[in-house]
């Protein structure tokens, strides 16, 4: 007899029987898995033993210490780049703005992951203020500006909470403004600020600037290309296909090389276009082509009933694209986009081909100029690899959070 009415409601059974139970179930479920677990554990232990021994006893991290701030800003503050002035504060002002804006976004979105990012940036920056350099090597001014990231975060949060800068769209506009302001500051040449030619920008700052520019501009361009490729206008479609296939068909390094020759052709003569801008343009176009194909894949995967339902409600074609198709398409391809942006970030290193000193190249140039460190190139490049990993892992983490937040694959 079914007892549905009077059956008591029971709590669900416990998910697992503690750590031991979990291990028994997952690590030693069968003879084979038990053996595999033991072998892997041994391999991991040996690997860890040798890595840690090398990191703490054999390796000489002196070279990292010597390069110091140059990892971050390259030659930017060198006497040859910024003669007669101390220019270190200009990149730092950019960092402060970024931290403050993270605070603003934290206040607006109340999202845990944004909060974590904001604290990570602010606290890491502040932590650098305590590096055991002498005051000669790293002055109070530098340290104070680094520490200022913590109050900047608080200020940003207060701004997002208590001022009209309290909607996502306004915060995005403010971010674009802050980005442009940072570029202007770095450039200098006004209000008595010594101009610093962009060829002297370098280090991680250069990688980040190029990656940010690339992501921000290639996104709308790529979406436009994807829509163009799917449009009914044959000429537009053909142009988009042509552009995408050409850009995808060439290695980025070739494009960067060509940028120095070809991009100027697209602008009037004497147009003040420096090599970094040219590189940035090429990176944007290259990334946009991949972006377009990713977004197109997302659009293709949509059920045709979605657009039909939207049109049947009276939404115009452009509204259907903007409110129904694109949000779903982009949401569905977030993993692919994250992948692409990670690749883009790493590819910014290729600007060495046009004689820019990004973080990798700064390291290489240093070793070449100081042959006494030749033996420690390993430490140097491992360090640089870790820096890249931290950033790309952060991107991966955020894309994962975004997926969860938007319910990809769930709804």
């Amino acid at each position: 007899m079914a007892q549905t009415v009077n059956a008591p409601t029971l709590p669900p059974p416990p998910l697992s029987a503690g750590a031991l139970g979990w291990a028994r179930e997952n690590l030693f479920g069968s003879r084979l898995s038990g053996a595999l677990t033991l072998v892997s554990a041994a391999a991991i232990a040996v690997g860890l033993w040798f890595s840690l021994a090398w990191i703490f006893f054999s390796a000489d991290w002196e070279v990292i210490v010597k390069l110091g701030g140059r990892f971050v800003i390259g030659q930017y503050n060198a006497e040859t780049s910024c003669p007669g002035q101390n220019c270190f504060w200009r990149p730092q002002a950019g960092l402060l703005m970024a931290t403050a804006l993270l605070g603003v976004f934290w206040a607006i979105t109340a999202s845990v992951s944004v909060k974590r990012a904001a604290f990570a940036v602010a606290l890491t920056s502040a932590a650098f203020a305590f590096l055991p350099y002498s005051l000669n090597e790293m002055g109070w001014d530098v340290r104070l500006l680094l520490l200022a990231n913590v109050p900047a975060l608080g200020a940003g949060w207060a701004i997002g909470r208590h001022t009209p800068l309290n909607t996502p769209s306004r915060a995005i506009i403010a971010s674009v403004g802050a980005f442009l302001l940072t570029l202007l500051l770095l450039r200098g040449g006004f209000l008595g600020l010594e101009p610093v030619v962009v060829e002297k920008w370098g280090g991680l700052m250069l990688n980040i600037l190029l990656a940010l520019t690339g992501i921000v501009f290639s996104f709308p361009l790529g979406v436009g290309l994807a829509l163009g490729r799917r449009s009914n206008l044959p000429v537009l479609k053909l142009l988009c296909v042509f552009f995408i296939e050409v850009m995808r068909g060439m290695p980025l390094i070739t494009l960067l090389f060509m940028s120095q020759v070809l991009v100027p052709l697209a602008f009037p003569e004497n147009f003040p276009l420096n090599s970094v801008t040219r590189a940035a343009i090429v990176i944007i176009l290259f990334s946009a082509a991949y972006m377009a194909e990713n977004v197109r894949g997302g659009l293709q995967s949509l059920h045709p009933g979605q657009a039909q339902a939207s049109r049947a409600l009276g939404l115009a074609a452009w509204q259907t694209t903007l409110f129904i198709s694109l949000p779903q398409a982009i949401r569905n391809v977030i993993p692919a986009l994250a992948n692409q942006f990670i690749a883009l970030f790493k590819d910014t290193s290729l600007v060495y081909i046009i004689a820019m000193l990004d973080i990798v190249q700064i390291g290489r140039a240093f070793i070449q100029g100081n042959t006494e460190y030749l033996l420690h190139a390993r430490e140097l490049f491992i360090f640089i690899a870790v820096v890249f990993w931290v950033f790309t892992y952060a991107m991966s983490y955020f894309s994962k959070r975004l997926e969860t937040h938007l319910g990809v694959g769930q709804r």
Binding site: Q308, A309, A312, L313, L406, G407, R411
Partner: protein, 255 residues
């Protein structure tokens, strides 16, 4: 053409089809459909699979373009003129077999999207109306959920509420219950019955004979792209004239 759209002869007819033809490639789907629907009338369309029922009602709001003949909705002829099409789509609600709710929007946003973007209603007003509609279709407590979190019957009721939010004069239903379990079929049909009582003009493709008998003013039987027979449900079900109708009814009744 910039002249005023041609007026239909009888203004009591809200939908008029005059010798409408449609081809998919070389496949002749609609082969001369001529019929009209009066204001407030409930028309049920039946017919074997592939007979062109969906194509027929989708031609009403031009989700399918016809290639010959004329279609008038509310006195306006359906042509390629985008303004007419958009105006008519605002006036004609549609409910699909597969619901087609927008999965990235919550239930309330599914319903308010078109009123806000198309009718330019203020959000607050649109949400109030949406909640009233959810009440009407019997699921006021689901407003903040996402479509994937609802049962099929609930999703279809949201889809009906979404269409009603545009305050249409005509509602088109394309097999609204075919993807549902029996229990959910009933909840959806209840909503449709209530809608029918409220005086809405409805065109419904369905195989629910019980519903057709009690709610329809007229049943249209289609086969191979033509209207084979039409008439009030009593006559249609009890006394069909055409051989093909008899065969079809025999099949679905003994099924």
């Amino acid at each position: 053409m910039t002249t005023a759209p041609e007026e239909t002869p009888a203004s009591d007819d809200i939908i008029v089809f005059k010798d409408v033809h449609k081809w998919f490639g070389s496949f002749h789907v609609l082969r001369g459909i001529t019929t009209s629907v009066r204001r407030g009338e409930k028309v049920v369309i039946m017919g074997p699979s592939g007979s062109g029922k969906s194509t027929f009602i989708r031609a009403v709001n031009r989700l399918e373009e016809h290639q010959r003949g004329q279609i008038f909705v509310d006195g306006v002829e359906m042509t390629n003129d985008v303004r007419h099409i958009d105006a008519i789509r605002r006036d004609v609600g549609m409910v699909f077999q597969s619901f087609n709710l927008f999965p990235h929007l919550s239930v309330i946003n599914n319903i308010t999207l078109a009123p806000i973007k198309v009718r330019k209603l203020p959000r607050r007003e649109a949400e109030q109306a949406a909640r009233a509609l959810l009440e009407r279709v019997g699921i006021p407590e689901q407003a903040e959920k996402y479509p994937a979190e609802l049962s099929g019957g609930q999703q279809q009721r949201v889809a009906i509420a979404r269409a009603l939010a545009m305050q249409p004069n005509v509602m088109l239903f394309d097999e609204p219950t075919s993807a549902l379990d029996p229990e959910m079929i009933r909840e959806v049909l209840d909503v449709m019955r209530e809608l029918a009582r409220s005086g809405m003009t409805m065109m419904i493709v369905t195989h629910e004979i019980g519903f057709a008998r009690e709610a329809a003013d007229r049943v249209i039987f289609m086969d191979e792209g033509t209207i084979v027979e039409e008439g009030p449900p009593k006559e249609f079900f009890i006394n069909p004239k055409e051989e093909r109708t008899k065969l079809f009814l025999h099949q679905i009744l003994t099924h």
